[in-house]
């Protein structure tokens, strides 16, 4: 165990890479989620279809397989991304597909009456979305987005497959050099847990902000079934 603990700089470096992956990956996923999620609620059937295809394809693909493809197969036909870029792309595309479903569901879950009120006030479609529906939908999205964020962080463990020195890869290296399987895994379990808890605090903070925006008392009462709406990772 002390062998493992004394190698903490290595693990910290790995954890830092894991955090970077999480930040970049979730930034990409967020953008994709909004683009394709809003497409999924569009009036045009064609636009909706594009959204569906994206969601179905990338939800159905295991990140592991996707990463292999980006890393090993694409260069053979002339596209070579830096490993970090490939990893972020794979994580972002995958989690973005789940996020798109969250966005679509949340916009749909804003009470229909709100939509009707915007019509009665003669707002334009874009104004309806921008001023009324999205602000309320975002409040509904936060809890499932929080879950997806943790998913992404955990999912990043597979990037060790494509040569990125994240926490998991550092752990494997440490196992190789010390032979201490149980100790190494125990330590990184704790590190992953701590990272996850910090992310949760962040999400909670944003949820409280959203509660204030909606004039609700801070409290978790508003989290009901929607909580799990996008949680299906």
């Amino acid at each position: 165990m002390s062998d493992v603990l004394s190698s903490y700089p290595l693990l910290l470096r790995g954890a830092w890479v894991t955090i970077q992956l999480t930040v970049y990956g979730s930034a990409l996923a967020l953008v994709l989620a909004f683009v394709f999620g809003l497409m999924g609620g569009a009036r045009s059937a064609w636009v909706r279809a594009v959204g569906r295809v994206y969601v179905e394809f990338f939800r159905g693909t295991a990140t592991l397989v996707l990463m292999y493809w980006l890393f090993y197969a694409l260069p053979l036909i002339g596209f070579r991304f830096a490993p970090m870029f490939a990893a972020v792309l794979a994580l972002g595309l995958n989690v973005g597909a789940y996020g798109a479903e969250v966005v679509r569901g949340a916009v749909k879950a804003v009470p229909k009456a709100q939509f009707e009120a915007t019509i009665a006030l003669n707002m334009r479609p874009w104004q309806r979305l921008r001023r009324v529906l999205l602000p309320q939908a975002v409040a509904l999205m936060l809890p499932p987005f929080g879950n997806l964020l943790i998913e992404l962080m955990k999912g990043s463990a597979v990037v060790s497959l494509i040569s990125i020195a994240d926490l998991m890869l550092r752990a494997q290296q440490l196992r190789q050099s010390t032979g201490q399987t149980t100790a190494v895994f125990l330590v990184i379990l704790v590190i992953y847990f701590v990272i996850a808890q910090v992310l949760q605090l962040l999400v909670r903070y944003m949820e409280r902000r959203a509660d204030v925006m909606l004039g609700r008392r801070p409290g978790r009462a508003a989290r009901s079934a929607l909580d799990t709406l996008g949680a299906a990772k």
Binding site: G60, M168, A225, L229, A232
Partner: protein, 217 residues
């Protein structure tokens, strides 16, 4: 490295055998997740603070750490306390326990969605605890969350390649095997990817029908 159809055809049976194991592990793990998750969710409502706080943090821990690490842990650490299961059983337990942390949240939301009036009516009628859960609350809660629970079947299926790491001969394992022997990875990995998409799209179509049946009640 150009695509070789002949080779692809040759390895397909191997990969399909792997798929059978994948599906088997997923289904068994899912059963574990459904039952265990329900148990967590009910324990979370326990009046005992100790019980519900312990359960809460255990579930939180399971939920926020990678399945891959948990699998290694189960596979290598459990035998040291005298519990030796086969790789497949370990995999099933690992998947099941990991996903029980998700299903428990789903059940919890379903239970929280049962109107307070239902609980109050059971109190007013003096119903015993067992009837409150099994007669009133769970039937309503579970029905509501069936579509959400279904999503986790797909998610779990997609996580099953991780069992590769603990020597379960699932599909990706077969692909690696074939690849290591032939040194051709393009075909096996691509076929595995395609099979994954096919199976998950099919199941998500199925789930949509389920959702249609139960979702709008």
């Amino acid at each position: 490295m150009i695509w070789d159809w002949h080779f692809a055809g040759k390895i397909l049976p191997d990969l399909l055998r792997g798929l059978v194991v994948t599906v088997e592990a997923t289904l068994l793990g899912y059963a574990v997740a459904l039952v265990l998750g329900l148990l967590w969710a009910v324990l979370r409502r326990s009046p005992s603070r100790v019980v519900n706080q312990v359960v809460r943090w255990v579930v939180e821990f399971i939920r926020s750490t990678p399945l891959l690490v948990q699998l290694f842990f189960l596979f290598f650490a459990l035998p040291s306390i005298g519990l030796t299961f086969s790789a497949l059983v370990t995999g099933v337990i690992g998947l099941g326990v990991h996903y029980s942390s998700y299903t428990s949240e789903v059940y919890r939301a379903g239970i929280a969605d049962v109107p307070a009036g239902q609980w109050e009516a059971t109190t007013a009628l003096n119903l015993p605890r067992r009837r409150v859960w099994f007669g009133v609350v769970l039937p309503q809660a579970v029905r509501k969350v069936i579509p959400t629970l279904g999503n986790y079947l797909i998610a779990m299926f997609k996580d099953s390649p991780l069992l590769l790491a603990i020597t379960v001969p699932e599909m990706l394992h077969s692909a690696y095997d074939v690849g290591a022997k032939s040194l051709r990875f393009l075909e096996p990995m691509t076929i595995v990817g395609v099979l994954f998409v096919i199976v998950s799209v099919l199941s998500s179509l199925l789930l949509r029908r389920l959702e249609f049946r139960y979702g709008n009640n």
